[in-house]
């Protein structure tokens, strides 16, 4: 199937999402809550584009809109520019502390609306990607709580979670760096919980928290890993090199 994005012809499969096709063809569509490993979140609405099918034009969300027939996509039409500016302005008032959001606002010339009240200096845009990451890893230590203006991401009862293994995946997927991770001497502090770190036997760098490595080892049915990821990769590469005689 052939579609046109901003006038450029792009090949795509039936059911593929616009954002993937655009990315493959080097067309930039801004987004915040999209993560390749956790697709389908579709809640930041920054990636909106305009789609024209048989003369009908519609604003859709590029990261969750499946391509089912030939169409033309516009990523910078006047309607997209106007609506995206509003989305970004609202996100900026929700998370004034986020440099990612303010950079996007600057890039797309978003005017500042005086009627949008900035309440606090948070970085969180409440996309829920962190909770999704935690859940899909099988930990399920954090979730979104309350709703409306009181919505937030926390652990149950706001207490240090006994389920959290301190893998910091939530912080890694966060598009705005809103989750605090403190890594001090020999321990990592996240969601109010301090978990000891295990050091790599080779390089001495932290390989991960004791709890996350034990969880991984249990799942794989192996012993506790002794090396950090970089050293493990290096060891495998050396092994392969000696096998193939490089």
């Amino acid at each position: 199937m052939l579609i046109k994005i901003d006038g450029k012809e792009c090949g795509c499969k039936h059911g593929e999402f616009i954002l993937e096709v655009a990315k493959r063809n080097g067309i930039e569509i801004p987004n915040l809550c999209h993560h390749e490993g956790l697709p389908g979140q579709g809640c930041c609405r920054v990636c909106i584009v305009e789609v024209e099918i048989n003369g009908w034009r519609n604003i859709v969300t590029a990261c969750v809109y499946p391509l089912e027939r030939e169409c033309e996509v516009f990523t910078n039409s006047p309607r997209v520019i106007k609506q995206r500016a509003m989305v970004l302005a609202l996100l900026h008032s929700l998370a004034p502390g986020s440099s990612e959001v303010s950079e996007l606002c600057e890039k797309y010339n978003v005017p500042s609306y005086r009627r949008f009240v900035k309440k606090n200096d948070t970085k969180c845009i409440l996309c829920g990607l962190c909770a999704k990451a935690c859940e899909s890893l099988g930990t399920g230590a954090i979730s979104t709580v309350n709703r409306g203006t009181g919505k937030a991401v926390t652990t149950p009862y706001g207490e240090p979670s006994y389920e959290c293994v301190g893998c910091a995946s939530c912080a890694k997927v966060c598009p705005t760096g809103a989750i605090m991770v403190e890594e001090g001497a020999g321990s990592r502090k996240i969601w109010g919980k301090k978990i000891p770190l295990l050091k790599c036997k080779k390089c001495g760098e932290p390989a991960g928290t004791y709890m996350e490595l034990r969880r991984a080892a249990e799942k794989l049915g192996e012993g506790m890993p002794e090396l950090c990821e970089a050293c493990r990769k290096k060891e495998i590469a050396e092994k392969l090199a000696s096998i193939y005689g490089y």
């Binding site: 909770a131 935690c134 859940e135 230590a141 954090i142 979104t144 309350n146 709703r147 652990t155």
Partner: protein, 160 residues
């Protein structure tokens, strides 16, 4: 019932009414809400254990729905309408009247655990404004001098 007096013997019968399936989580939580007037922490933990899911997901649900509460509510729940019609006909006076009679404002519970007060936005009975609903019984055109009589009658009554 305070949290420390709730035992797993109180909770288990509520769980066993439903099969071990996550889609029953909300129904079980509603039963707990009805039984204890709130969802105790032990109840939420037992439910997570029973359904084999994470407590975070249940906590998320319990905080999302307004009909579920993590703090104990009163035996009788007073809902005062503060929609447009009721507001104009003096819902605010009604709320301050309740504050005088029972000593609680919105989202609070009386010390004896008998009453809790909630403000709602419309009960669909604007002709009766100002409207108050206590335990699903409607009181229309309520005046503040009727309040002590209504609450005294309810105090002696068993919960429906």
């Amino acid at each position: 019932m305070p949290e420390q007096n709730i035992t797993y013997e109180d909770i288990t019968p509520l769980l066993l009414k439903y099969p071990k399936d996550q889609r029953h989580a909300l129904a079980i939580m509603q039963d707990m809400q009805r039984h204890f007037n709130y969802i105790p922490r032990k109840g939420l933990e037992a439910l997570a254990d029973y359904l084999g899911c994470h407590i975070s997901g249940l906590y998320s649900m319990a905080t999302f729905y307004k009909s579920l509460s993590l703090k104990p509510k009163g035996r009788h729940i007073i809902k005062v309408c503060d929609g447009t019609a009721c507001h104009i006909r003096g819902a605010v006076n009604l709320v301050s009247g309740i504050e005088r009679v029972l000593g609680i404002s919105a989202d609070e519970v009386t010390g004896d655990g008998e009453f809790s007060l909630e403000l709602v936005n419309c009960l669909g009975s604007c002709a009766l404004a100002p409207v108050m609903v206590v335990d699903d019984e409607y009181y229309g055109k309520v005046t503040t001098d009727r309040l002590p009589e209504i609450f005294d009658a309810l105090r002696g009554e068993a919960r429906p």
